[in-house]
């Protein structure tokens, strides 16, 4: 049976867009007769034995999917650390040269998926430099809109055909189609409206957290 390992790169232990996205893809691959394993990178990267075991497992998988939020225009440090460990294992021969394909699911807090492009290209370069097949990427903006819910009932709901096409392609040994990538990249709201919407949402979040300080504090002013 074909195997897929889906790795969640969000540091949040509970609900996250990365988890929702990864689990939704995992369910679709299950239905297409893949054996899937979903893991959070965060706890594993802190445990040498667990990391070695995971790396030993992924090199026998057919597909590895990294699902992560964009941090500082690229990958969160734990996800980068994971790729570094994978590359180091291949370089020192402790991991066999293998051919799992690598696919990426990523999202950012801005409305434009273009903010995710550098992160995708880092993963693509990792794949190219380490003999790992590249299976494409899905990226979208407003990642917070799917955290903890279901992708189907989220603002991404109308794009499920594109998501299913991505799952079909990955399950059949191919790559995420360009058409799926383009469908996911379309902003969920017009960019010009986002400053207003986003500002309001942050204010609501601060109120929920009981924050009484103005959000514009400058603790490090010179």
């Amino acid at each position: 049976m074909s195997r897929a390992v889906l790795l969640i790169g969000s540091p949040k232990p509970g609900k996250s867009a990365s988890r929702t996205f990864a689990e939704a893809l995992g369910q679709r691959m299950d239905a297409r007769e893949f054996e899937t394993r979903v893991e959070r990178i965060g706890p594993i990267i802190r445990d040498e034995e667990a990391l070695a075991a995971l790396l030993g497992d992924i090199v026998t998988a057919d597909v590895v999917v990294l699902s992560f939020p964009v941090y500082w225009d690229s990958l969160p440090a734990p996800v980068l650390r994971f790729l570094e460990a994978w590359a180091a294992g291949l370089a020192d021969g402790s991991l066999p040269a293998s051919a799992p394909r690598l696919a990426v699911l990523t999202q950012c807090g801005f409305p434009e998926a273009s903010h995710c492009q550098v992160a995708i290209d880092v993963c693509r370069l990792f794949a190219a430099e380490n003999g790992v097949g590249w299976a494409g990427a899905l990226a979208f903006g407003m990642g917070g809109s799917i955290a903890g819910g279901s992708v189907e009932r989220s603002p991404l709901g109308p794009r499920m055909k594109a998501f299913d096409a991505a799952a079909d392609a990955l399950s059949a040994g191919g790559s995420i189609p360009e058409s799926s990538t383009e469908a996911f990249a379309r902003p969920l709201v017009p960019a010009w409206g986002y400053p207003l919407l986003g500002g309001w949402l942050w204010g609501q979040q601060a109120k929920k957290n009981g924050c009484t300080e103005p959000l514009t504090c400058k603790p490090y002013v010179r």
């Binding site: 500082w72 980068l80 960019a191 300080e213 959000l215 504090c217 490090y220």
Partner: protein, 192 residues
């Protein structure tokens, strides 16, 4: 002029250490005062993605470790330089863990910058942003991607100037550093 060097040299990485040494030397020669922080000796935990730095303790990370000290040092500087081995065209994970903790330096609110949404600046001014990456062997792909990444960072962090340079193999660190500083306009101040 004051420079902060975030030296993300991993233990045993001679090439990156030489790059950082060269940067200190050239900045000093240009009469810039230098503070160098060795990132591997700092206590910096990974970002937890809680957005507390925007909605609980605005402007400051909720985690009380050395990342806060670095945030202050960044904002106290005129020039901030990160020195790091490259990982697939990106900062190495050691540097990245520290940088992930610095979104407190901008506001959660949004602004359009050349037709794209970005976060508003929290402060009136930011340092020039320099990034010096090292590689075992030359790679145009890594260098190009790193340059693009640093450019994106500078837009998001509202840096008035930025530059990225990669030192590969046995390439002269001094020459690369001089190019980095020249590109960013970091020169000896001429006192009137």
């Amino acid at each position: 002029m004051k420079a902060l060097i975030l030296d993300a040299t991993p233990a045993g990485d001679e090439r990156t250490m030489r790059a950082a040494d060269a940067l200190v030397a050239e900045l000093t020669a240009r009469e810039v005062s230098v503070e160098r922080m060795l990132v591997r000796d700092l206590d910096v935990r990974a970002c937890t993605g809680c957005f507390g730095c925007w909605t609980r303790t605005p402007g400051e990370c909720v985690i009380d470790d050395d990342a806060r000290r670095v945030s202050q040092a960044i904002m106290d500087s005129d020039v901030c330089a990160v020195v790091t081995p490259l990982s697939f065209g990106c900062y190495g994970a050691l540097a990245k863990q520290l940088l992930d903790r610095q979104i407190c330096l901008v506001l959660p609110y949004f602004v359009m910058v050349e037709g794209e949404v970005h976060h508003k600046p929290r402060y009136g001014s930011y340092p020039t942003w320099l990034a010096l990456g090292t590689l075992e062997r030359p790679s145009a792909s890594e260098a190009d991607l790193f340059t693009r990444l640093v450019e994106r960072n500078a837009v998001n962090m509202h840096n008035p100037a930025h530059a990225a340079q990669v030192i590969a193999g046995d390439e002269s660190a001094a020459a690369a550093v001089a190019r980095l500083l020249d590109t960013a306009g970091v020169r000896t101040e001429v006192l009137a």
